[in-house]
Symmetry: C2
Subunit: 536 residues, 2 copies
């Protein structure tokens, strides 16, 4: 249990937690009121961070150090940005010809090379883009704070939409069902079942008479079910299933979508499996995205860091920890060069760091080889019209399937524009590997075949351009993210400085594959490094 930083002895939150544990919510609420904490909303949940300041040195009579940052992904850029606030002499070495790392937004005119594959020339029209890497931000994430600080404007990312579909082919579904319909049916039937069981006394050991009354009242509204006389039957006559003819003028009360599938059919369809996704702390709406593309974040960071401090096309070939600093050897423009610094922050993916010669010892080498790279990929389908809006009334959101495409994403911006880009797959593991092995043309064909099961033949028509990315085949990255078999000794080791070398990245956080993890890891390393420099 992490306690609040302020206050010695028993922290306020610690005290409340213990009260709550014995007294239940009622006691918790009452105690909070008595303490003067409530009534009021809960405090922010951020991990506190104090950026290094120039005045830290002025007051202590020490100077800022030279820092070599390896990698201009989000962690590297964030570390350089924060250190720069205190006047550190930072140099970033980046192997690619661009900043951002996995935070990449594909636009018309870009070239996308693949290891052992063709280079795609992206043909998207003006204003059309695909966030090839990270594409969503939860409200609680530190990423939001950087957007505010850097002036990156945000808009809602449509992670959930009642009008998008669920389609489980393996369960025997031959047509998709809208999320709203699936929820109405599942919630309706589970309400019916629980109301029956409650009313029949099956849960009397767990429920008091008052509990039962309140539960039945809740279920009545939650499931839109009938009363006791009907056996609490779910009949799906409520408009929340959707309509085949929308309610309108005069005598048009609307025609509720029917027929309602049976309880057994609803359970067999497995549609309810999709629901808990949106309860997740990192996935629950509302979610956000930068206006115009996710790469607004690394662009803003790089601008703040200063172009002069970022050497792109610089591939690190050797990391040497010295008694009084570090020496980084790298290749650039066909020549081997050396960068000397006091400290190094290495933010490359661990499986790539493991390939670079260093003198940090065998346990570091073993630890770097421990995380397992995970495969992921996306295809962007630019259509000449936004038929999903015009014909199917899907303004953003995600269709969930058990097909190898996993999901279909509808765009969260430029509603009603002429063109738009649908993400035709965003998949993982074996599905992603399968697509990664294909040429782009083959991926396109396969994605369209799958998507046509949801949207019919129209899905194949009117495509203006397309592009696909297989992150396992991206040079200098080679994976979507990593997973730790367990967060054991290796994880702990790399979260400690090795001589003058620090490691940082989402892979050293509890929010892997999220920019939040990169930012938090960068902040941690910056804090530790700065403390060390100040102590001398």
């Amino acid at each position: 249990m992490t306690e609040e930083p302020k206050g010695g002895g028993v922290s306020r939150r610690g005290f409340l937690t213990r009260v709550g544990a014995t007294g239940g919510a009622g006691a918790m609420f009452a105690t909070m009121g008595a303490l003067g904490l409530a009534p009021s909303a809960e405090a922010a949940t951020r991990v506190p961070f104090q950026p290094p300041r120039r005045s830290d040195f002025t007051l202590r009579g020490r100077g800022a150090a030279r820092i070599a940052v390896l990698g201009a992904g989000v962690a590297g850029l964030a570390a350089a940005y924060e250190l720069g606030k205190a006047g550190y002499d930072v140099t970033i070495l980046e192997a690619q010809d661009r900043v951002g790392g996995r935070n990449r937004t594909l636009r018309g005119g870009d070239r996308l090379a693949e290891m052992g594959g063709d280079t795609q020339r992206i043909g998207f029209g003006k204003g059309v883009y695909m966030n090839a890497g990270p594409a969503r931000i939860a409200q609680w994430m530190t990423t939001m704070d950087y957007c505010r600080e850097l002036g990156v404007p945000l808009e809602v990312f449509t992670n959930s939409n009642a009008d998008a579909y669920i389609y489980n082919q393996s369960a025997g579904m031959t047509a998709p069902v809208r999320w709203r319909t699936a929820k109405a049916d599942v919630y309706g039937y589970i309400s019916e079942l629980l109301a029956k069981a409650t009313d029949q006394g099956a849960l009397d050991q767990r429920l008091t008479g008052t509990d039962k009354e309140r539960l039945l009242s809740f279920l009545s509204g939650f499931g839109a079910i009938g009363g006791r006389a009907s056996g609490f039957a779910y009949t799906g006559t409520d408009g929340r299933r959707g309509y085949t003819v929308d309610p309108g003028a005069a005598e048009n009360a609307g025609t509720v979508l029917g027929p309602v599938p049976s309880l057994s059919d609803v359970l067999a369809s497995g549609v309810g499996r999709s629901f808990s996704f949106e309860f997740g702390y990192s996935q629950a709406m509302l979610m956000f995205q930068p206006v115009g593309g996710m790469d607004a974040i690394p662009r803003a960071l790089a601008k703040a860091v200063g172009a002069g401090r970022i050497r792109t096309g610089a591939q690190v070939t050797k990391i040497t920890n010295l008694a009084g600093g570090v020496e980084i050897e790298y290749e650039r423009e066909g020549r081997t060069r050396t960068l000397a610094a006091d400290y190094c922050i290495a933010t490359l993916p661990p499986h790539l760091l493991a390939k670079i010669p260093h003198n940090l010892g065998a346990s570091v080498q073993s630890a770097l080889g421990t995380p397992v790279p995970a495969s992921t990929g996306k295809i962007g389908l630019e259509y000449k019209s936004r038929w999903w809006e015009d014909e199917e009334r899907i303004y953003g959101g995600i269709t969930n399937t058990d097909l190898d495409i996993s999901t279909i994403w509808y765009p969260s911006h430029d509603y009603h524009a002429q063109r738009g880009l649908v993400v035709g797959y965003y998949n993982f593991g074996a599905n992603s590997d399968a697509y990664a092995r294909l040429t782009h043309a083959e991926r396109l064909r396969r994605a369209l075949d799958a998507g046509a099961k949801i949207h019919g033949d129209r899905y194949r028509q009117g495509i203006a351009s397309s592009a696909s990315i297989a992150w396992s085949r991206q040079q200098h990255i080679q994976g979507g993210w990593i997973s730790w078999p367990s967060r054991g000794a290796e994880y702990r080791l790399l979260n400690q400085p090795q001589g003058n070398v620090y490691f940082s990245g989402d892979w050293l956080s509890y929010e892997i594959a999220w920019q939040h993890g990169s930012f938090e890891s960068a902040r941690k390393v910056v804090t530790e490094l700065h403390q060390r420099v100040l102590k001398g």
Copy 2:
């Protein structure tokens, strides 16, 4: 059951409905596949509408007629707009000095007068506004089509947010709970209960063995509950409750929000009552709003109609149906004037139409007096900082309470801007009446007292300006909307032309209080009137 318009005899949907009714979803899916309808998404659910065209007259040798439209709200503007497409000679009479009716966006510099009350001078800063009337649009609504056609840009309206609060004071809650936490607890406990009952055989009459297996599997993920050995216990250890310290770098796995209230306390809190709101066909996310204010819609309509066709400040004083047309008497600039036309479309609220002398007969008069005006109001609180975002990580959404404010709305736009506007109440009925009776200063004080129960004292601090509207006290409107005691003979009567006078508005639709209702009603009347003119 409304059948699809095309095809005689048994419609395809009618056939499918019957198959589905007897065979369950499986049969339905299979049949759809066999018919070649599936696989594909369902068709759009719009009521078809063919706007009048100039060529309709050319081909039939008839000329467009003169139409007097009473009221420049959404219904009146839409009717004029559609008739204008065919060259009808339309004149709109509007009593107010602005168009839009209840669609009104308040901005800095506006003046807001109240019947029998003070006039507020709105002091909102640049870019800050409040949609005083309609504020949200569902994806399926015809309003979306008009936004597309008129080029009104849209953005997501944040109708639901996991980070907003629920607060039921009357249930004994002394602190608010976030939607995400309330959902985790309610879904967790109902999953535990239903799993227990299912596993104990209490529902064996309703569930087969396979059903039970599938249901238990669903509940496990839906409620994040334990397995059979634990009694399927909900313990709330899943991060979906939220965190007191967010997951971050290195060893910070995050601290899950606790303690978990007991089942009885969760049921007693009544938080689950709020959930079904977002299942509604008209309220389910995703929802939308025009960028910059809802009045972009009437502004765009008025521009398309042409300013020369709209007479503002024109209060109708008499409606006379003639053998060959209509005569409308109205006051403007202190003088009584007359507008002669072939037809009239009256879109004023029925309770105001009932006060205007006419010769349409006693049953029309009685029908106009039947609908009951409903009270509603809002207060806008402009703050000097967006503390709900910065301190509480609430980026949009709605807090739901059982207080007299009913709800608190956080803004759906300009995230991270310097200032922002919170809607401090949007309430109905007796609560709305109570606020309507107060001066603005009194409303403000009362709304702040209520909101402070959610957000603490900070809610009273840093207010830059505020404005409140009581729709029952708005001249020429006098109500938020109306309700029909039943949609009986009076409703049917007014949905038929009375001589050369047509009635139109959301009050003559099944979507009262939504712009969709106004648009659909306008389309219906335009279609009928145009058919009549063409037939001569």
